[in-house]
């Protein structure tokens, strides 16, 4: 979040003194790998059956706790289900949780941010206080409260995670809007006699919203991680849904005997977060150099 602000304050005066500094960046190969991984994830969420090798819910108690092998690439779980197929089947659920939670956070943040920056002083003050109050509930505590009221489950967990990210987004969006509103191109539009509504539609909103998509990609991974934490606390997805967080939590109890049950779902969560972050950053960089 402060990255955005930082970029805005970068003094451009020095730009002409030195030749363009090659920015430290992930090698392109990292971006490519991330892109490939995200494509795999998308494929797995849209058509898990094509990518999975077996029925993810096929129980075979006799095959329980098999280590990774040719037949079971990621091994099997405590009920003899094929872990690879479950990981693939869980992609859709986990991504959905991540995307939905981020969307909820962004939507709420957008409403609050727009209210704050356009609602006049009183509304701005009120919204800012509200955002501060929401900030005072650390994410998981807010999530716990939501879960207490509406009961555990993936839907509540998603809403809870989304809600807890909203104040952060609200602040960024408000900051964006305020800085755009005081920008010189908005002033230039006023000088040309453009009405406020037109300025809003043509300049302010588009320029404020585009960076949000980048922000969203960065948020998805974190949303998945927090949803997984709720699953670990037994407040997330329900069995037999193959959600990564739930699988990871289940696997953790068998860490002493079946490492693969913890490692593979964990790798998926970490991998997804890394991939979305790398892509988000690549987009930020492109956006920055394109401006």
């Amino acid at each position: 979040m402060s990255e955005l602000e930082l970029r805005q304050t970068t003094v451009e005066a020095s730009a002409d003194h030195l030749p363009a500094r090659p920015r430290g960046r992930m090698p392109r190969i990292g971006t490519l790998l991330s892109g490939a991984f995200v494509l795999f994830l998308l494929a797995a969420s849209i058509a898990p059956a094509l990518i999975a090798t077996q029925d993810p819910n096929q129980i075979a108690a006799a095959d329980a706790f098999q280590p990774p092998s040719i037949a079971h690439w990621f091994g099997t779980d405590e009920s003899g289900r094929d872990l690879y197929s479950r990981v693939v089947a869980g992609t859709g659920t986990s991504l959905l949780i991540g995307v939905t939670a981020t969307a909820i956070g962004l939507a709420l943040g957008l409403v609050l941010g727009v209210l704050a920056s356009f609602g006049g002083r009183v509304v701005d003050f009120g919204v800012n206080r509200l955002v501060e109050v929401l900030f005072a509930f650390p994410g998981l505590l807010l999530a716990l409260l939501v879960i207490v009221v509406y009961g555990p489950g993936p839907v509540t967990a998603t809403i809870a995670v989304g809600l807890s990210t909203a104040p952060g987004y609200a602040r960024i969006i408000r900051g964006q809007l305020v800085s755009i509103r005081s920008s010189q191109y908005v002033e230039a539009a006023r000088v040309l006699g453009r009405a406020p509504g037109r300025i809003l539609a043509q300049h302010v909103l588009p320029n404020a919203l585009i960076p949000l998509f980048v922000l969203a990609t960065l948020g998805i991974g974190q949303a998945i991680v927090w949803a997984a934490a709720l699953s670990y606390l037994g407040l997330g997805a329900q069995p037999p849904a193959a959600e990564w967080g739930a699988m990871l939590a289940a696997g953790r109890t068998y860490l002493a005997t079946a490492w693969w049950m913890t490692v593979f779902p964990g790798l998926m969560i970490v991998g997804t977060t890394i991939a979305t972050t790398v892509l988000g950053r690549a987009m930020t960089r492109r956006g920055r150099s394109g401006r």
């Binding site: 003094v11 005066a13 020095s14 002409d16 003194h17 030195l18 030749p19 500094r21 090659p22 920008s183 010189q184 191109y185 002033e187 230039a188 006023r190 000088v191 040309l192 006699g193 453009r194 009405a195 043509q202 300049h203 588009p206 320029n207 585009i210 394109g290 401006r291």
Partner: protein, 547 residues
């Protein structure tokens, strides 16, 4: 100390490359003790890279090579970073452009000045402090004790530049490299800093001065090197180069300086990239007809006052200012930074309401009426900004920017003539689909002017429209504005800190200081026979060509 004969800097065939691109291509340079050598050139000429390469700091991905690189008697051709560190600060000091960012804004300037002492000398903290205070006193810092504890942001521009100089000369290095040392400063301050550097040179220090500003160079340099595309294309004594240049490029550079060019004279040649020779052909378009003195004012600012709230009271930015601007006339508004020029511009544009007084456009109430009623007339008064890039929506192409500006929201708006507009401001039709970010500084300002013109204004408010541009580009833009004014009968409110530019552009001039107009009148009269002492000081301090 080096003795008088031995050069403090002796470079032969210096080359610097970034990746495959060579930006400094075989520069030879020698500076003797007490000598000031200047390198002039426009942005991208390689002058700054040269300066840094002399300290072994050309940049992370650069390759530097030279046949000979001797600083204060030490050969540094293949020096290690360790050796370089011993040279920097001790044998060669560096002064950069703006001390606000060239001194660490988080550290007291005293610490910054003590740094070279700490790095290169074994001294006790008390000795260091004493030396630091002495240095501050030497560079003319009032109350060194107090200043030492302040951060660069808490000092005025001139004072912090002095602090920066103090840190560069802390160890009395034989060589001082000054890279655009006065560029961001107001003229009066600039004059004092130049005097300070001259004093350092007097003490026997060799100075390498890097500047884009020929006038600054003229004041200080013994010898001048003109740099272009990484090469020294001309060199000689300052007098020789400035008064009798042999290269076409140098001639163009000198011609482009507006200071002593008469009103209406052309500054640039039609050849792209190179200014015209001095006194080149007069403008091809119709001759200038000065506006009649008694024509009604198109824009009238009438006893306007504007204050802003600050903790513990209100700050008066504009104090009882009255100005009037007639059709076809250029009114120059000069003043140092913080004098209230920009606030006047915003008041004229009705972007901010005055506390007292009023602004009239063509005799009609302008500043006091409702924004809804003002909006339909806004197209009559346009604006050009110092930084055109930030005045464009970053997502929009040139075409969209101009199309949007041409559309006044009327249903019967004439078909938008993009090509004609681009042609008028001297841009190729091919830029239409590019985004301003990908254009050069001069092109951007042309787009900015085209945008203002698209709305068919009567008045243009130009707030420092050329301060960010190289001198040849500046010349082109100034010529363009001149031309357009002639063709369209535009009234220009031309705001600038640069007296030379204003003198070249303005029919009448108003001088602003601390929110008030201290003097106004016919441009020639004000510059030649200033009545107010402040104006006289400004004129005296303004650097100009010639020695």
């Amino acid at each position: 100390m080096t003795d008088a004969g031995e050069p403090v800097l002796d470079v032969a065939s210096l080359r610097v490359a970034f990746g495959g691109a060579e930006v400094v291509r075989g520069v030879d340079l020698m500076i003797l003790p007490g000598e000031c050598v200047a390198i002039v050139g426009e942005s991208g000429s390689g002058k700054s890279v040269t300066a840094r390469a002399l300290l072994g700091m050309a940049g992370p991905d650069s390759r530097t090579s030279s046949e000979r690189l001797v600083v204060a008697g030490q050969e540094l051709g293949a020096a290690s970073e360790r050796t370089w560190r011993d040279v920097r600060g001790a044998r060669a000091g560096l002064i950069l452009q703006d001390a606000l960012v060239s001194l660490d804004p988080l550290r007291p300037v005293g610490r910054e000045i003590e740094d070279p002492l700490r790095i290169h000398r074994r001294m006790s903290a008390a000795e260091r402090r004493a030396r630091m205070l002495q240095l501050l006193a030497d560079v003319g810092m009032p109350d060194p004790e107090l200043a030492a504890g302040r951060r660069s942001g808490e000092l005025s521009g001139g004072l912090r530049q002095r602090a920066l100089i103090a840190s560069a000369i802390a160890l009395d290095p034989p060589l001082l490299i000054a890279d655009e040392p006065t560029t961001a400063l107001d003229v009066t301050v600039q004059a004092r800093i130049l005097a300070l550097i001259a004093g350092i040179r007097e003490r026997g220090t060799g100075v390498l001065l890097i500047s884009h500003d020929l006038a600054v160079v003229g004041r200080l340099a013994d010898r001048v090197l003109v740099m272009r595309d990484g090469e020294i294309i001309e060199q000689g004594t300052a007098r020789k180069v400035l008064e009798d240049p042999s290269e076409r490029y140098t001639k163009a550079l000198i011609a482009a300086v507006p200071a002593d060019s008469p009103r209406g004279a052309r500054l640039s040649s039609s050849e792209s990239g190179i200014g015209a020779a001095p006194g080149a052909a007069p403008l091809a378009t119709s001759a200038r007809t000065p506006p009649s003195a008694d024509a009604a004012a198109l824009l009238a600012i009438d006893h306007v006052t504007k204050t802003f709230p600050v903790p513990g009271g209100r700050f008066t930015a504009v104090d009882d200012v009255s100005l009037s601007l007639r059709r076809g006339e250029t009114l120059g508004l000069v003043g140092e930074s913080g004098s209230g020029k920009t606030t006047v511009a915003r008041l004229a544009l009705a972007l901010t309401p005055p506390d007292h007084g009023a602004v009239f456009l063509d005799g009609q109430e302008w500043s006091t009426i409702d924004e809804r009623r003002r909006r339909p007339a806004r197209h009559r008064i346009g604006a050009i900004y110092q930084d055109p890039l930030s005045s464009f929506d970053p997502r929009w192409s040139v075409r969209r920017i101009l199309a949007d500006a041409a559309d006044r929201g009327r249903r019967d708006a004439p078909a938008f003539a993009l090509r004609e507009l681009l042609d008028q401001v001297g841009l190729a039709a091919s830029v239409a689909d590019r985004r301003p970010l990908t254009l050069s500084g001069g092109q951007r300002q042309r787009v900015s002017i085209a945008r203002a013109l698209a709305a068919s204004p009567d008045v243009l408010i130009c707030d420092e429209p050329v301060s960010a541009l190289d001198v040849t580009i500046q010349a082109q833009i100034l010529d363009l504005l001149d031309e357009l004014q002639r063709e369209r009968g535009l009234a220009l409110l031309f705001i600038s800190h640069d007296l030379g530019v204003v003198r070249h552009m303005a029919d009448r001039v108003a001088v602003m200081r601390a929110g008030r107009i201290v003097e106004s009148g016919d441009a020639e009269r004000v510059f030649v026979r200033p009545e107010h002492s402040y104006t006289a000081q400004l004129v005296a301090d303004a650097p100009r060509l010639g020695i």
